[in-house]
Symmetry: C2
Subunit: 318 residues, 2 copies
């Protein structure tokens, strides 16, 4: 971040007509955003949300209550404007892009081999990198893909250890039997790829999804351009965690938008030292949790940029 801009934003914050710290987390969010944008104050004007869509080889193992066709059907729903992320993008005033990185062209089943070969993995990373609008002033990566939480659980288990059970949850809503089966699939993936534990990007390639690779590429591109990022939920954070493990500090431009209803997400945020802005039990994906959180970022910047100082307002300080 830009240290001078950050310091100027902090100084401005300290002069605004409120008791010190009284806007709580909003103050830290405003200063964080200003630092990465290189400005002493500003407003959220060009947020961008990209939903990366892809299919998963493991979907055929019955890890989701929804059939794999739903990935393509939901991409149609995005195009028609009917999904949650369409409503949230409109409310936020965000540009919404949907990038197909593998719909109908699933990854390989990770219990049988690497989910992606190196060429496909790099292609997805690059698609993510290229999807970030250089003019965006906040970036959110979302995802759609039946089977994606299984891939994210496998990646998380490889990165953080603790075994499949610690990182596997109900995703879109599997029942108890479904959760046992899903956990067994994740465990089989981990057993098939012992190399994944030693190399974060290999974990992403062997156990992750095309949309996860793209999200990692996008988060890295945003860092290169100093674009602040709000992370979404379990799948997005697992993809970002691979970056963090590969390169410490890789997520300094990120804040966690929300704490997901997927139980292992909170554990992952804690392990990464990230404190979520919202905790609303959301677990939809699509970037939806981060999109709601972006409204709070907008509020933080509206206060920071628009409030009068004690001197301007003629208000006595404490």
């Amino acid at each position: 971040p830009d240290r001078a801009a950050r310091a100027a934003a902090e100084a401005r914050n300290s002069r605004l007509t409120k008791p010190p710290g009284a806007l709580g987390r909003l103050e830290e969010i405003a200063v964080w955003w200003c630092g990465w944008r290189g400005v002493a104050r500003g407003a959220l004007e060009r947020p961008q949300i990209v939903v990366f869509a892809a299919d998963h080889g493991v979907a055929r193992r019955g890890v989701s209550p929804f059939p794999a066709e739903v990935t393509a059907q939901m991409v149609g729903n995005f195009a028609a404007g009917g999904a949650a992320i369409n409503q949230l993008s409109r409310l936020l005033g965000a540009r919404l892009d949907v990038v197909d990185v593998g719909v109908g062209r699933p990854t390989a089943d990770f219990t049988e081999g690497p989910a992606m070969d190196e060429a496909r993995f790099l292609q997805a990373l690059g698609a993510g990198w290229d999807a970030v609008d250089p003019d965006a002033d906040l970036f959110i990566a979302g995802e759609m893909g039946i089977g994606a939480t299984s891939a994210a659980s496998a990646v998380a288990a490889a990165l953080f250890g603790g075994g499949a059970e610690a990182w596997t949850g109900r995703g879109a809503g599997v029942d108890d039997a479904g959760l046992r089966a899903k956990t067994a699939v994740v465990a089989a993936g981990l057993a098939a790829h012992p190399e994944a534990a030693a190399d974060p990007l290999e974990a992403l390639r062997r156990l992750g999804g095309l949309e996860m690779a793209a999200m990692a590429g996008a988060v890295a591109a945003a860092r290169a351009r100093r674009t602040p990022v709000l992370l979404d939920g379990f799948i997005c954070t697992a993809a970002a965690a691979a970056l963090a493990h590969a390169s410490p500090g890789a997520l300094e431009h990120c804040r966690a938008g929300h704490r997901s209803g997927e139980a292992a997400h909170g554990r992952m945020l804690d392990a990464l030292g990230l404190e979520a802005v919202l905790d609303l039990g959301m677990r939809l994906g699509e970037g939806s949790g981060a999109a709601v959180a972006a409204l709070t970022v907008k509020a933080a910047l509206a206060c920071h940029g628009g409030m009068a100082t004690f001197a301007e307002a003629g208000v006595s300080g404490g």
Copy 2:
């Protein structure tokens, strides 16, 4: 609430293109709002925020780091558009009213007698009642008044028991010595008004503030008109708690906008069975926490009202 509208809103929620429950708290919020508005779906179009401003007799006892003149100065800041609540109202698209119920005409010092006589108390309740726009589709009561957290602490202690220490916090930011002095003032108020523990409205009259009485009147008026309410922080919730203790169910039309940085607020929400939408450590007053939370209500309604159903989108159900 309107049971038929609530049931219709719930039915619609269950048909939207997302796994059941995947929007977490947003789903409950949308159904709650629809039930009180009497509609199967809708959008937040006419939110109203009213800031009640008043001075406090106890302010002269040094319970705040700010001098009492700041109440009037901040009313000037509201008029000039420079306060946090001005920025948040504009972002939300809310009508903002500032109602003077006692600026420069403080309550009596509650350590020496009742804060308000009955006439003044009823006048403030009525001013709050009258301030609610009958056409508002969401109501937020905020407040400004140096010394207000001392009054709220005293009311909370009278309503919930446990003594002054359990309910007194740093407010706008008193230091350790200030906190001890403030706690002693609250304890002296409780000792001076033993009648307050037996009668919630007497607690409000004897220990509260004019802005707290007005907030209680406004929340009651909103209930009579079936207008959904987002409660703000410590002071607002203490005023609403007096209603809840006087009449069980009086807050069914309310949701807690946020959990304040004032430590006793969380304890009060727990005692009232209210779960906050946000937990951002805000402790500014003015209705600011509820105003930020209202953006989440807007998001909830945008999803509930705008999303396609599985049938409309041709998406396979789980």
